[in-house]
Each structure stands twice: as structure tokens, then as C-alpha cells.
Amino acid sequence: MRVLGIESSCDETGVALYDSERGLLSHALFSQVAMHADYGGVVPELASRDHVRKLLPLCEEVLSRAELDLSSVDAIAYTAGPGLIGALMVGGSFAHALAFALDVPVLGVHHMEGHLLAPMLEPQPPEFPFVALLVSGGHTQLVKVDGIGRYTLLGESVDDAAGEAFDKAAKMLELGYPGGPQVAALAEQGVPGRFVFPRPMTDRPGLAFSFSGLKTFTLNTVNAAKADGSWSDQTRADIALAFETAVVETLAIKCRRALQETGCRRLVVAGGVSANRHLRKVLSEQMGKVQGEVFYARPEFCTDNGAMIAYAGCQRLQAGQRDGDRIWAVPRWPMAELPPLDALCEDGLREPSN
């Protein structure tokens, strides 16, 4: 089955063609990051406007790169949520109409399931069951994964997501948007140990996260440095490193706990923050010590992309799951509510038939 995947939940338009036999055939992405950078964050109306401009040209690009035409598309998958409602509606409307025109099935998939399954596109994909750490701009979650659609939430952030914390720290450090990669780059120049940040919620049992205290701590540190005259490029780098280290170690501690609690030996890390090299290094070392394995997507598939949607959609479409005529756009949608692969879904994943 050859699936055209469409992602438009936030500030990137992504399209990809995935073949269940041959794997990923091609993909294309347009990032709106430069446009939103002027505003210091995503402006939903501008994001939606850009998706309507970019979606169709990206589809053409993906097909021409794969040297195929529309007649070779067997099904269409699009991101139905969670995300920005207006942005989701663009992808959903286009996907439904295209599927109708081509007379092929269409399915609205879950954006976080896309992130979660992105490592499946790599040469050595993880086997089920595993523990997944989802760390992105909107989510920080630990999930036990027993199969597609069989998710148990183990813990999540009670406030900011890890990616969001990176973005906010970036602003305080006078860096641009999105902040994650820029904080990480600045942290490389940092001197370890000059600042020590707390490791929130690691002193008590449980798998919940909290990053808003770290944000306040960062702000206080920045303000103190500005007040005592020590604010400099080196100080910024040192703060960036202390911040990054605190986030990374907090995530690592919780991953270790989740693996212990579930008895899993495999860890999958997905979402934009999983591109962070420091995080990958610490988790790889930690998993090495316990003879466990850790899996990631390639960096370009850590952030939003069409390939993960095409892949996730393909798994479910092959199992016969599909939308009816309703275009789904679901801004909030807990991943644990997803039906398993063997559930009968003829009117989308939100409303299984039994």
C-alpha cells in the first residue's frame, strides 16, 4: 500500500509518500520557522495561511521526486490532531477532497503517534513493547507502548513541555525562535559547573515532569548576572549549558525509572527535543550501562514531518481503519484514547465503531 502523508498541525507543512513494501519513497517539508521568528512564536492565522499555499506544491514535489503520479497513491493520511485547529483543517480538507477525487481511503491520524512511530522509519526499528519518551514543543510524556494504539500513559509534564522550556529559555538568553537548537548550540561553548540548576521532581517518586520552575530559575539567573555585571556571551553559554544539562538529566532520570517500573529494556525517544545531541549522549550511555537499547528517528524526522504521518497512517489504513466523510480536526486529543490496530474504525480514529 502506498500512502501519501500530510502534516499541517503547526508551523511546518510536510508531505511524504510511504510504501508498505519499499519503505519511504520521498518526502518534502516547508518550515515556516523564519516567518514566525519575527513574532517570537507561532502565529496561528499566519500558519494556516501558509499551509494553503504550500500543501499542493509539496505534494507535486514529493510525487515528482518519487517519479510517480497521483494514480499510484493507494490511500491518504493526514494529521487530524492534536494541533492548531485552523492549520489542521487545511490539511484535512485537502486530504479528504483529494481522496474523494482519487477514490481511495483517507484517515486522520494522531500527530503524537506519528512522532512516536517515526523511529520505525530507520534501518533498525524498535520492537514492541517499549517505553517511549515523547519530548516536543507541546508534549513531555512517558508512555508504555505494547503495540500500535496500545498506549499507557506513565507520566507527563504538569506544566510546560520540554521543548517549550527550551524555547522560553532561548528568549531569556536573547536567542531566536525556535529555541531548542539555538540553546543547544550555545551550550556547546558553556563551561560546566559554573551554574547548577535544579532537577525538578526527581527527589520524589513518580514519572511526572515539571519545567516551569526551571524557567523561573533561568530567569533569576539571567537577571542576577545582568545586575552584577557578569552578563556576557560566556555567561549566556554557561547558563544555556546549565539549563540544558538540567533538562537532559531530569529526562534521563525519569526514563530510567520508567524502564525499571515496566521491566522494559527498549527506550524510544521521539519529538523535536529528541534531536538534542546532549540528550542522546546521556541516554545512550545510560542504556548501555543496563544493556538496554535506545532508538531515535533521524534528526530531520524528530521535528514535524510528513513521513511520520504517512507511516502511521499506512499501518492503520492497511488494517482497514479509515475516515468516513467527516474531516477531523481535533485540537486536544490524548494519545492513550487511540484505538488499537484491530478496532473497527470506519468513521475515523476518534469514533471506533465498537
Binding site: P57, L70, G86, R326, I327, A329
Partner: protein
């Protein structure tokens, strides 16, 4: 020719077929239900006329102005259909479609006003004659007190159309006085869009699917830029 038109720019959700000049239309009052209703309505309309999507020659849509979300649903649907079928698109102004709805049986000049929120109106002036809608000025968005009417022949009477005329008290007196007759309830329909699209088609105005874009009119909303950008 066979043309499918749709409109989701306002509270209504409507689809229409133009089969060599004969209009078959379905309209539902569906505020915030467009994503539920539009595909079933398209499917049903084609079924009733025993048409397959591939039988269509072109697609038309209400390109705005109107609800931003609605415009994008229409544009997304039409792009998907046109791209999948390899057929061209005819975008139609929702103000012009409303002008036709208001003046279909009763030709003359018409001033269409939609409530654009934020204390502004979307505004377009047209002359409707023999089922054709001629724009008199460029469409715009502005506060009601800054509206004006173009000059027309002395014995002609303006007709006001659209819910934007509810803001009449805030319009200049000259505008209000010139427009005594008003059809507040006039809204764009897929049927009117299908008629206007047919003319545009004959004039060679069809475009590629990728060019089928909404016309928002309001392009500078107060999004706060970062200092220095």
C-alpha cells in the same frame, strides 16, 4: 459544461452543480459544521445527478472575503478535488456572489457589506445586469465610517446587500441616504458562484489548482512583531 461550486465563507454550507447553465443546489445552515457537512453534501449532489467526480470540467469556490477558516476549508477542498481530478479552478468573490443573489431578478447597482468584525466591514460595489456582475471598484475592508459609493447614473437606485448593513448607523450619511433598500439576509450561495464561474470559464479565467487561494482582504491584523523586525 459541468461545474461543481462550493461555498463555506459564511454560516452557510452550500454546494451546487452548473450543468450547461442549469443549477442544482444544496444549502445548509451549518455554522461551525463545515468540516462535517461539506464532503457528504458534495457526494450526495453528484449522486443525485448520476455524476462521477471525473465527469466534472471545473471546480469553483467562494474565495472570500469571509470567515478565514471557512475560506481555507473551501480552498483546501477545491484544491484537493482539482488536483486529484486534473481539472482547473474558478475562484469567485463572495461579495460578487452576494450581489448576484440580491439582484438576480432586479438588475442595477448593489453595494455589498459583510461584517468583518473588529469594527470593520468587507465592502464591494457592483452592477448586476443580465445575470452578470461587474465590479465597480476594488473590494476592500475598512471601518464603516470610511465607506463611500462610486458615482452612478442619476435615476439609478442602490441596493444594499449583506449583514454588514446592520452597521448602517456608523456609515457616512451620504452612503446611508443613497441606499434606502436593503437585503440584510443576502449571503453568498454556491448556486450564484456556479453561475459566475461559468461566465469566468467562458472568459478563459480558469486557473491551476495550486493557484486557488483565498482572498482575505484583511492581511494586516495586529500581530505583534518582535522589536526591530
Amino acid at each position: 459544461m459541468k461545474l461543481l461550486a462550493l461555498d463555506t465563507t459564511a454560516e452557510g454550507c452550500s454546494v451546487a452543480l452548473n450543468l450547461d447553465g442549469q443549477i442544482i443546489e444544496q444549502f445548509e445552515n451549518a455554522p461551525r459544521m463545515h468540516t462535517r457537512r461539506i464532503m457528504p453534501m458534495i457526494r450526495e449532489l453528484l449522486r443525485q445527478s448520476a455524476l462521477k467526480p471525473a465527469d466534472l470540467d471545473a471546480l469553483a469556490f467562494g474565495r472570500g472575503p469571509g470567515s478565514f477558516t471557512g475560506l481555507r476549508i473551501a480552498a483546501g477542498i477545491v484544491q484537493g478535488l482539482a488536483y486529484g481530478l486534473g481539472k482547473p479552478v474558478l475562484p469567485v468573490s463572495s461579495l460578487a456572489a452576494t450581489a448576484l443573489v440580491a439582484r438576480e431578478q432586479n438588475p442595477g447597482p448593489v453595494a455589498v457589506a459583510f461584517d468583518a468584525r473588529m469594527a470593520e466591514v468587507y465592502w464591494g460595489t457592483f452592477r448586476v445586469e443580465e445575470g452578470r456582475v461587474q465590479p465597480l471598484e476594488e473590494e476592500r475592508v475598512c471601518p464603516p465610517d470610511r465607506l463611500s459609493l462610486p458615482t452612478i447614473g442619476g435615476d439609478e437606485r442602490w441596493l444594499g446587500a449583506g449583514a454588514g448593513w446592520l452597521l448602517c448607523d456608523e456609515m457616512p450619511k451620504s452612503v446611508c441616504d443613497a441606499v434606502t433598500e436593503r437585503l440584510l439576509e443576502a449571503i453568498p450561495t454556491a448556486g450564484a458562484i456556479a453561475l459566475l464561474a461559468q461566465q469566468a470559464w467562458l472568459e478563459g479565467a480558469a486557473i491551476d489548482a495550486a493557484q486557488a487561494q483565498p482572498v482575505y482582504l484583511r492581511d494586516e491584523v495586529a500581530w505583534q512583531k518582535m522589536p526591530g523586525r
